[in-house]
Symmetry: D2
Subunit: 352 residues, 4 copies
C-alpha cells in the first residue's frame, strides 16, 4: 500500500529486532524502510548481518536491505527500538530530538514521568503524556512498552484492580530463555536447570505495574498504591514467561468473581480494532494444568495473555497463573500495538 | 557386620525404592535382607524386575535377591516403605500390626496424630509420638518423613521459627521430574515446558509444616499457628526441588539476621552423629544466582538443604530461595535418617 | 462444501490421530464425519476423550463429535488409520473387506506386495497396486505411507537414485520424542540424554526404502537393489527427525551434482497440485549448520523435507543431513496426501 | 606428600581448566602449584577469576591461589594446557623451549610427527616420539591427548584393529554441550534441538585415529591405513559424547567376536596401575538401550569407555555405540593419565 507509514528498526539484528522484522511483514499500516545496527553490521545486507533465529524465513525484501548505523539520519517517521537500555538512553533521546516517533521496547525511559508506559488494552489514556515531552512540538516523542513479565502480570491485574482494588501482589516468575536475547543464557546454565536470578528483573516487575495501573491526573501519572513482591527465575523454556501470582484485594473476592472479572473485561473498541490486537485479550483456562508455555504461548498469535488455576489463597485472596509470550506481547508485538494506538489516535497528527 | 539390623524395602522396584537400595549399600547399621514389590514382580530377581534408573550400578548382592510379595511375612525388623499412598494406608498398617517398624516415605499416615512426621534435625522430639500407637506394645510402629518439597521448606523455616516466629509463608516451587517417579511425567509434557500443577502437592505443602514445627504437649502435637500458601510447578530438571519463599515473621528481622539464624542453627549432637546426617544441615549461599538444581543438588551427598538470595520483601519480611534433593533428603535419604534416629534412641528397645 | 468426501479417523485420540484432526480442519476435499477409538473412549465426546497435545485448539465442531468403537460400521468412504500395528493388522483388513478405503499410517501392511507404500512425490505409480487387492472389486482397499524416518530418507534419495543410482546408504537418525506418541518416552529417559535404540525402527528403515524406490513391473513392485544400514537414536527434540546420511552411488557424483539433482527434481504436476503438497518438496540449505529440528521442521507447513551439509565422504560418495517433520510429513500429513492422490486418480472411481 | 611433582595449569579458568583443578585434587603424584590465565584474570585469586561450573566446590587451597599470566616463568615441572589451539601453537612451544613438560589437551600439535598423540591404554609406545623433539635434551617436551570424540572411537577400535584389522569406519557423533566449553553453545541453539555441525570436529575425527593406531617404525609413526568418515552433531546433553559406529574389518568378524575382543583386551600392567587408569578400560553393555550419556557417563569416574548395541551391519561388518566422558576421559582426565604415563616411564628422567 502506498500510504503505508515508513518505519525503521533500531537494533534490527538482535532477538527482538528480528521479531520486529517478522511481525511487521505484511503489516497493513507500516512498511519497513530502514534497519539499523551497530557499526560492525552497518553496510552489510540484513541477510549477511543477522543470524536469523526465528522459525520462518526472513522476508526476502528485507534480506537485501542494507543496514545503516543507528543515527537519526534515516528515512522514516517511526522507529522501533530494541536497543539495550544502556544505549537507548542516549540514542532514543537523540532520535526524539530529531523529530522521530520512537516506539521503544527498552527500559531506559519507561519510568520517565513524561513517557507513556503503555499496554493499549490497559491504559491507552496514558498516551496523552507524550504531549508533555519537550520534543513533542517538533514531532519527536518516545512511547514505551513494559518489561516482558510485567505485561503478563498487569494484563491480568487490570480487570481485578478495576473490580476489587489491589493491596498486594506476590509473583514468582519462570521466564523463557528468549527473554535473555541471543546468545543470552549459555546452554550449560540452562539445560536441566533453573537459575533463580535475572539481573534487574525483580526491580522492574515491582515498579512498572504501579505506573501502568496509575491514573492520569492533570497530565501526570498518579501511581497506583499497591505493593508488588517479585521473585524471578530462568527456566529451560524457549518462549513464554509463566507467573504464579497471589493477590490481596481492597475488598474480598472469590475465585469465581475473579474469573468473571477477567472474562468480562472490556477492551475499548478503538483498541480492539487495531491490526495487532488479539481477538481475545485474556484467555481464562478452566482445567487444572493450564496454561503451559510450550502449548499455549501462541494463543492469539502470541498477543493473548492466558490465565489459569484461579483459586483462593490461604494468605491473600486469590491465586492464579499467568502466561505471556515474552518476545511477542512482551516485546516486539506490544511495541507494534503501541505504534498502532499512536497512529490511530490524534496524537501523531497533532504533533506533526 | 554381623550385628547389622536386617531391613526390608516395600516397593523396591520403583524410583524411591531404588534410592533406598542405593543409599543402604554399605550402610553401617542396616543390611538389606528383603525386597518386596507387586505380585507381578514377586518371584523374579531384583535385577530382572527393576528397570534401574540411577547412575551407579545395582549393588551385585542385591541384584540377585528374589523379590517377595508385599505382605508382613518377611524376615527383617525394619521396613522402608515407598508405596503409593493408596496402597500404603492398608499395607503399612498391616506391617505395624504384625510388629514391624515401618519407616515410611508415603503420605498415608503423615498427618495421623499418633504418627511422628520427622526431620531429625528439626523435630526429633516428635519421635515420642510412637508410644501412643496401638501396636507399639507389640513392637510395631510407623514413622514418616515429609513430602519432598516440605522437607526443604521446613528445614529453612525451623531456625527462623525459633528465632523470629512465623506468621505467613508464601512459597512457589519448581519441582524436578524425579519427584513424579518412573515413568512419571511424559517427555512431551516436560521438555521445554513448565506444568503449573502437581496433584495433591500444594495441600501437603500447606499442611505438613504446621505439624513439623508444632510442639509436643502432653504426648500430642500442638500444630504451629502460621499459614502457608503453596503454588507448585513441574520443571524440566532431573533432581532437586527449588522453592521461592517469602516469610512474614512474628517480629521484624532483616536479611542479615535471617542468614545468621540459618548459619548458626545448632543440630543436636545426637542427630549430627547419625550416619546419614550431613556435615552441614543448611548451606547458605552468598552469591546472586545460587542455589541451582543441577549444580548444587548433591551438596552433602544430597542431604544438605541449600538457601540463597536472602533479601527483604516489599510485602512480607524476608525472601529467599531453597533447594532440596527430592529423592535423597526428600525421600529415601530422609527416611533412612529417620530409621537411624529411631535406632539410636531408646524407642526401639523399649518397644521390643 | 457439500461435495466433500466424508472421512473417518481410526484411533482418533492418539498423537497421530490428533494430527489428522488438526490437518483435516478446513480441508477442501475431505470432511471429518466419524471418529473412533478404543471401547473405553467410545460414547464420549472427542473433547472428553482426547488429551489434546497440539498447540492449536481442537476445532469446535470436532470437539462435540461422539466417538464410536473402531468397527466397520461408520458412515464415511475413507478412513485414516493411526492404529498400532498389532491392532491394525486385523482392523484395517476388516474395514477394507467392508468396502472402506483405508489410508493407513500403520506399519501393518506396508510391506504387503499388494499394498502400495506411497510418497506421492516419489512413487505415485505404485498406487496401481491396489487393483490387485482382493477387496478392490467391492470398493475396499488399503494404501500406506512409510515410517516417519523413511519418508525423509527416501525423499532425499529419490532424485539421487534417478540421477546416479544407489549402491549403499548408511544412515544414523536422531529422532524426536513425538515419534513415540503420548505418553511415549518418560521424561527421565529423555531430558539431557540420548537413547541409542528405538524398537523395530532400524528394520523398517532398512526395508521400506527398497520397496518405495522399486519399479512397477507387471503389476508388482520389483524392489530396488541397494543396501541400507540404519542406526536409530531418540533425542530430546519435540518434532523433527534428523538423519545423517552417507551414500554410495552407481556412478560417481560430486556434492555439487547432488545438490543440483535435489534442487532440480521435478514433482509430477498432478501431485504438485494436490491440496497438501508443499510448494517445495525438498529444500536444500547451503549454510553450515542447517537444517535444525527446532528451527526448520515447519518448512512448508511440515510437508517439506530439508537437506543440508552436502559434502563428499571419505568412504562413500556423498554425505548430507536430512530433516523431516515426523508427525506431519512422516505420519498424518503424508497419509492425507496419499488420500488426495487416491482421490485425484481414477482409482477410487474405478473401484466403486 | 613432599615428593609430589609441582604442576601448573595453563588456561585454568576455562571449562577444561576447571576439570584439571577438580581431578588433580588429592592426586597422589601431582600437586597444583601454579595456575595461569589470560592477562585479564592474572593477579586475581582463582576464586575471583573462575566462574566455577562443576558440581563439587573448588578445593579451598586452590581458591586462594593467585593466577599468573601464561608465560614460561612459573614454578613447576609439568604444565597441563587447555588453551585454545590458536594460542597453544605459540604458547606451548615456548613452554617446551623453556624446559617445561607440556601435557596438552589442545589440538595444536596433535598431528605433529614428533609429538606423541596418546591414549595410554592404546599406544603407550608412542611416548618415545618425544625423544625426537628439539627441546628434549633440555628437558622440554610436548605430549597430547586426542580430541574428545576420537578418544571414545579409538578406544573401541583398538581391540578390533588388533584382532581383525580395519578397512573403513563410519561414525556419527551426538556430542555433549560441555564439549564446547563455557559459555559455549547458546541455550536458544541447544534446547530441544540438534545442531548438525561442529566446526573442525569431523576433520579431527577423520585424521587422529590413523596416527593413534599407527605403528612406531624407526622413531616415527607410520599411520594406520583405514579410512574414517565422521558426521558430528551437537545434542542437548551435559556430559558424554555418544557415537554410532559401523566398521569394515580386514577379515570378517561376527558381533560376538567383536564383543569378545573388546572384553578380553588387555591393558598393559604398567598402564593399569597408573592412578587415573580405570579398573575397566572398556565396559561392554549387553542390553538393548545402553550406553546412555546421562546414565553411564560416569562409569569408572568418567575414565571408562562404554560400548553397546554390538550387531552386524548390512553394509559393513559390525555396528556398535560408544560413549565417552568428553571432559574427563576426553580432556583433563586423559591428559592427567598421559602425565602419569610420562612420569612412570623413564622418559622424564632421561630428559632432565
Amino acid at each position: 500500500m502506498d500510504i503505508a507509514v515508513k518505519v525503521g528498526i533500531l537494533g534490527a539484528t538482535g532477538a527482538v529486532g528480528q521479531r520486529f522484522v517478522q511481525l511487521l511483514e505484511g503489516h497493513p499500516w507500516f512498511k519497513i524502510a530502514e534497519l539499523t545496527a551497530s557499526d560492525r553490521s552497518a553496510g552489510r545486507t540484513y541477510e549477511e548481518a543477522a543470524k536469523w533465529q526465528l522459525d520462518r524465513d526472513v522476508p526476502p525484501a528485507i534480506s537485501r536491505l542494507v543496514i545503516k548505523p543507528t543515527v537519526p539520519d534515516i528515512n522514516c517517521r517511526i522507529v522501533f527500538s530494541s536497543l539495550p537500555a544502556s544505549e537507548a538512553v542516549d540514542v532514543e533521546a537523540r532520535f526524539a530530538e530529531a523529530g522521530y516517533v520512537v516506539v521503544s521496547n527498552s527500559s531506559a525511559f519507561r519510568m520517565d514521568p513524561s513517557v507513556p508506559l503503555l499496554i493499549p488494552e490497559v491504559n491507552p489514556d496514558h498516551l496523552e503524556l507524550v504531549r508533555g515531552q519537550s520534543t513533542f512540538a517538533s514531532g519527536g516523542m518516545i512511547v514505551t512498552n513494559p518489561n516482558c513479565s510485567t505485561v503478563g502480570l498487569v494484563s491480568a491485574l487490570k480487570p481485578l484492580h478495576d473490580a476489587f482494588g489491589l493491596q498486594a501482589v506476590q509473583v514468582t516468575t519462570m521466564q523463557a530463555l528468549s527473554g535473555a536475547g541471543y546468545p543470552g543464557v549459555p546452554s550449560l546454565d540452562a539445560v536441566a536447570n533453573v537459575i533463580p536470578f535475572i539481573s534487574g528483573e525483580e526491580e522492574k516487575l515491582e515498579a512498572e505495574p504501579l505506573k501502568l495501573l496509575g491514573s492520569i491526573d492533570d497530565g501526570e501519572v498518579k501511581q497506583a498504591a499497591f505493593r508488588v513482591s517479585a521473585q524471578c527465575n530462568r527456566v529451560p523454556v524457549i518462549d513464554g514467561h509463566l507467573l504464579c501470582v497471589s493477590t490481596k484485594f481492597g475488598r474480598r473476592a472469590a475465585p469465581g468473581e475473579v474469573a468473571e472479572a477477567l472474562r468480562s473485561y472490556v477492551v475499548p473498541e478503538s483498541v480492539r480494532r487495531l491490526p495487532s490486537a488479539p481477538a481475545e485479550f485474556i484467555h481464562v483456562f478452566d482445567d487444572d494444568d493450564s496454561p503451559q508455555p510450550r502449548r499455549h504461548v501462541d494463543l492469539g498469535e502470541g498477543m493473548t495473555v492466558s490465565v489459569g488455576r484461579i483459586r483462593s489463597c490461604p494468605i491473600n485472596d486469590v491465586r492464579f497463573v499467568v502466561l505471556v509470550h515474552n518476545t511477542v506481547r512482551g516485546a516486539a508485538g506490544g511495541a507494534i500495538l503501541n505504534a498502532e494506538l499512536l497512529s490511530a489516535s490524534g496524537v501523531l497528527r497533532s504533533a506533526s
